[in-house]
């Protein structure tokens, strides 16, 4: 009897952080950049704050920023798992292998990895269909452009970025089949100076719509200075160029993070893969500003069509640059093709760097 009591007390002590009913669920976030980047990591942190707001003292959140992809990441993730986190969100592609490794050692902790493809019983993956938003801004671009040329500040030639470029141009071509797109690769996700220089070069060459797949507000700011228009990236960048900013594709992780933390609270969490777009509110358009009413209304209607599944940006016939038919008439690109996209659609004025 005595022994059993001692054991019970001992067990209770061991399980202390989790066993108390009032004890909050601990959600940890591992970020690749600073929360002050006003882009990718900033938006993930907004998601974390939304979780705190939604659950109050039922949830405790912790985060670590500026974690390099590699051995450091494994240490950071492991530390959270060891310190009693119930769920750990790792928010960069390069955290994939470290997440899987740590997850093996902590089978009771739940892991969520953004933008990856490796899963396990306690590792789920999630990402967002930003290309849906790109189709919408492509249509806006073609309607608003006077020169018929848009500039695209691109980061790295990976499928995610190529998919965005294609989707943007498909949207633009649906309005103006001769619409031109000029692309500059800056080989970085984040360098305001370089992004600004690329934007200047594009505008100097006749682009009067600026869009980007890099993280700083520099390109839209340059667009504002030069009197042309453009779109924000990852977060609402209207403040940086009030007269130039039509809308922005916002990464909104709040709904997903709240849902997943709730699943942990309810004990219903399961591994899986979520690739959500407008339908999951993971991709949201910023308010339409400085646009004629009909253009804004059309854009909103297109968002609804994509959300309901009535329309898919990659609906055939779609030809690549060499004129080869990639998606047949009436068909939609399958997930595999979208995830591995390494070809340009017809009309892109650039050679894809290999």
């Amino acid at each position: 009897m005595m022994r059993a009591t001692v054991l019970a007390v001992f067990a209770a002590m061991l399980a202390l952080p989790a066993a108390q009913a009032a004890d909050p669920v601990k959600a940890a976030f591992v970020y690749v950049g600073p929360i002050g980047d006003h882009g990718w990591t900033y938006q993930h942190d907004q998601g974390r704050l939304a979780v705190e707001k939604a659950f109050g003292d039922k949830v405790e959140t912790v985060y670590i920023e500026n974690v390099a992809e590699g051995p450091d990441a494994e240490r950071a993730i492991e530390r959270f798992a060891r310190e009693g986190a119930d769920i750990v969100f790792t928010t960069s592609f390069g955290f994939m292998n470290p997440t899987i490794k740590v997850a093996k050692r902590f089978p009771d902790v739940k892991f969520e990895h953004a933008t990856g493809y490796k899963r396990a019983d306690n590792v789920a993956t999630y990402s967002a269909r930003f290309y849906e938003g790109r189709y919408v801004i492509g249509q806006i671009a073609a309607k608003m452009s006077k020169s018929g040329v848009a500039g695209y500040v691109a980061s790295f030639p990976i499928p995610e970025v190529v998919r965005g470029i294609n989707s943007f141009l498909l949207g633009a071509q649906s309005v103006n089949p001769d619409f031109k797109l000029k692309i500059v690769w800056v080989n970085t996700w984040f360098d305001p100076g370089k992004e600004a220089d690329a934007a200047k070069a594009l505008i100097d060459q006749g682009a009067d719509i600026m869009t980007q797949h890099t993280d700083s507000p520099a390109p839209i700011q340059i667009a504002g200075e030069r009197g042309v228009h453009g779109f924000g990236q990852a977060s609402d960048m209207d403040a940086f160029a009030p007269a130039a900013h039509y809308t922005a594709i916002i990464d909104d992780w709040s709904a997903y993070y709240i849902a997943r933390v709730k699943a942990v609270l309810d004990g219903t969490w399961e591994s899986g893969d979520v690739w959500g777009g407008f339908d999951a509110d993971m991709v949201v358009m910023a308010p339409y500003t400085d646009l004629p009413e009909d253009v804004a209304a059309d854009a909103a209607a297109m968002v609804e069509k994509i959300r309901s599944g009535e329309f898919h940006p990659f609906t055939g016939p779609i030809h690549d640059q060499e004129g080869k038919l990639r998606i047949a008439e009436g068909e939609r690109a399958d997930e595999g093709m979208l995830l591995g996209m390494n070809w340009y659609v017809k009309g892109v004025d650039d050679k894809l760097p290999q």
Binding site: P34, D37, V184, G193, K194, D204
Partner: protein
Amino acid sequence: MTGFEAVVLTIVTAATPLLIAALGELVTERSGVLNLGVEGMMIVGAVTGFAGAQLTGSPYLGVIAAMAGGMALSSLFGFLVLRLAANQVASGLALTLLGLGLSGMIGEAFIGQPGLKLERIDIPFLTDLPVVGTILFGQDPLVYASVTLAVCVSRFLFRTRAGLALRAVGNNHASAHMLGVHVIRTRFLAVLFGGACSGLAGGYLSLAYTPQWVEGMTAGRGWIALALVVFASWMPLRAAVGAYLFGGALILQFHAQAEGIPLPSQFLSALPYIATVAALVILSRDRWTARNDSPSCLGQVFVPDR
């Protein structure tokens, strides 16, 4: 504005922060101190400059705040390596890390705010001249400051007594000390000058180039400035040539891409460093030039005997 003018204008703005930071580091290194903390001082200058402009409403006060920020950080470096005779390489690297972290902390309140821009100065009549008008006379004030600075630093180093003393300290601190030059004080002033320039270069980024504050916005420009000093073989006017060359390579690469001319952009991103390696090779070709060009006491600790 013609295409040519537009290209030259962008090259000048891309080169200016590199030039300002390189000139500061050049003077520091000429005095025999190697400060690898340029990146850190730049980013602190960027954030204090931005903060100064936001809080006072004047981008010019922002410029002063940027210089003050860089100087504050460099005085810490000066204390470590000159007073405490700490290792310069390690202290410089630590300074960069400190600057990156510190700037994030200071800048937290300013994220997502559009900044105040240093406006271009238009000089009546001259700005309206064809072709050269906007290039020569339609820039923001810091561009003029950077060119003036290059000329002044060159004159100071090679045409003044104080400049001679500074070079003497950098080339042979023991002899300079014997001759009654205050080695530590000279070096400390050179370090402060370097800090002010790095801060100013950072301020140029957050006030003129891309008027905003985001963490890590210097994105390695401090390291390019360091490379530039070596590339210029410690000569101010060569540093100016190098800065415009590096800026030019970057901008022309973007224009080539937008025109659809395939250039290996990764190679061009690496160009400043490759050019620096090449310059080093040429410099060390024979011993005489090598000794003549680089400050002999660079990175060496000096402790005056009592």
